[in-house]
Amino acid sequence: MPTMTFAQALNDAHKLEMQRDPNIYVAGEDVGTYGGIFGVTAGLLDQFGPKRVRDTPITESAIIGSAVGAASCGLRPVVELMFVDFIGVSMDQLFNQAAKMKYMFGGKARIPMVLRASCGAGIGAAAQHSQSLEAWFMHVPGLKVVMPSTPYDAKGLLISAIRDDNPVVFLEHKILYALEGEVPGGDYSIPLGKADIKREGKDVTVIATAQAVHTALSAAAKLAAEGISVEVLDPRTLNPLDEETILGSVRKTHRVVIVHEAVKFSGPGAEIAALVAEKAFDRLDAPILRIAAPFVPVPFSPPLEKAFIPSEEKVIQAVKTVMES
């Protein structure tokens, strides 16, 4: 099986889908000639031409708004928001237009579009280029929210997102772009709304997303040496959440630690924790803990940024805490 990076896997997904369906177009800032600032759309302009791969002005409202209009009229846009932090200038098109048209119009609209965005901290890009905003999008009825953690998941999920007839927000942690992994070369898809057990265990369920999945996995390896068996569960899709897999794991281990890079207060972990508390309360042997970023903007200075990002030590500590409960 070929090995490719997360960015290459996404690139591959674009190529396969664009070959399959002539109505898919790509648009965004620097996606064409430059190939995307993280390289995700490299080579697409050469292969598919400027009608289907469009460099845009710096004009997020028009990029996203025109994607909604085009999607309403038969096209399948896959548009890029360079950094999820830029959603602020264009949020209306996503949450008031794309998300709500089908419902407001009594079911008659269909908005098959994907909005891809890079997210996450760790490269010193500072407060306005490093956020994790998935909780904002999870909170909007009408959107789907996907957040892969591996190259294999990235390709399969992007293919599904592109084929989905709804507006999908597809979040790519920027640290993951260089991550290598085994990825089948051909066409395959991973259904949205299906979680993945990245590591089986029996003592505690650690639910993690994006880059935090890898933090959880390395914490799990260390904990195994101390005789603690950690199950790492990656939701992959945040809306819709795979309740069945999450609750199934909790009923097995009776302990939950949630890890994500979004700030803890009102983050995606709050929804998962409430879900578990509501539906599996009597199966829990410990309170649900969340390891997440503190309630501050992402700081610039490297030691501060490091302190901001959930660390392996903090995950290990949280697991030990619930084990002692």
Partner: protein
């Protein structure tokens, strides 16, 4: 531009239909039968009518919160519109949208919209689809003087020219964004003055002269169909009623309203058609009576229709 007699009578009929529909809605609203907000188009009929007289079902329009006129002019059925504003399940949107969100995809109506300035990017996108798919369909964006200052409008126009898209921007300048008069809110006297900034043709027309609107829009729509890119047409007009029903209109002088009522597009056009021998006064009455009956039918349909059941609350959120 040649506008046939049939088309002129058609436009006269549509303008009356819009006016009478809006008046009836205002009466129902005052009687407490319509929930929420309604923003009525009375006074501006010539704009929607003159523009849409050039459009096919396969052309697209985006509308505004003041959308009833655009919907009727584009071919919307007043039965389903009435049912929708009443919140009934037989409405265009199964009661889920209301006045500000009526849409009919089959007629190319991409929706009334509750967000000022949301239409321009959507219309630009619809035009992108037309160009991409190689049809000669066009998108028409109705937007107001309020929206002309919104960032999204600027972005949409810039992109439309950069990509040479078949979109026609129709600015309905009725001088007021709720209470905010264009004298204070717009840095230039005419919205069309900005067209040069987007390298597209821009003209000002008398928005209360349906023939002038029809001709100007016809030219712009033809340009778009032929792949020559976007245009901006500013139609100067005035709303007879408040921004919303119930608006005390403290921000406008009664004299100003009276001045504009003297330029009411409908009696103006009726006089023209009668003078030209295209319409007899008797025929004009016939048209209006027929419309009154249609509106009564639409009202009956709406009132007799059921509300949606609460069990339908979560339907139609996602496409399966």
């Amino acid at each position: 531009m040649d506008i046939s007699k049939e088309k002129m009578v058609d436009m006269y009929t549509i303008m009356n239909k819009i006016r009478m529909f809006e008046i009836r809605v205002s009466e129902l609203f005052a009687a407490g039968k319509i929930p929420g907000f309604v923003h009525l188009y009375a006074g501006e009929e010539a704009v929607a009518t003159g523009v849409c007289a050039n459009l096919r079902d396969s052309d697209y329009i985006t509308s505004t919160h003041r959308g009833h006129g655009h919907l009727i002019a584009k071919g919307g059925d007043i039965k389903f519109m009435m049912a929708e504003v009443l919140g009934k399940k037989t409405g265009y949107c199964k009661g889920k949208g209301g006045s500000m969100h009526i849409a009919d995809r089959d007629l190319g109506i991409l929706g009334a919209n509750g967000i000022v300035g949301a239409g321009p990017p959507l219309a630009t996108g619809a035009a992108l689809a037309c160009q991409y798919l190689g049809t000669d369909s066009v998108a028409v964006c109705f937007f107001g003087d309020g929206a002309s200052n919104q960032g999204t409008t600027h972005e949409a126009m810039n992109l439309a020219t950069c990509w040479k898209l078949p979109v026609v921007f129709i600015a309905e300048n009725n001088m007021y964004g709720i209470s905010s008069c264009t004298i204070n809110s717009m840095c230039v006297p005419n919205i069309a003055d900005r067209a040069g900034a987007y390298d597209m043709p821009g003209i000002v027309v008398d928005g209360n002269d349906v023939m002038a609107v029809c001709e100007a829009a016809g030219e712009a729509i033809k340009r778009a169909r032929q792949g020559q890119g976007p245009s901006l047409i500013e139609c100067k007009t005035y709303r007879h009623r408040g921004h919303f029903e119930g608006d005390p209109c403290v921000y406008r002088r009664k004299e100003e309203l009276e001045e504009w009522k003297e330029k009411d597009p409908i009696p103006r056009f009726e006089k023209k058609l009668v003078d030209l021998g295209i319409l007899s006064p008797a025929k004009a009455e016939e048209v209006k009576t027929s419309i009154q009956n249609q509106i009564a039918d639409a009202e009956r349909f709406g009132e007799q229709s059921p509300y949606p059941d609460p069990s339908e609350l979560t339907f139609d959120l996602y496409t399966e």
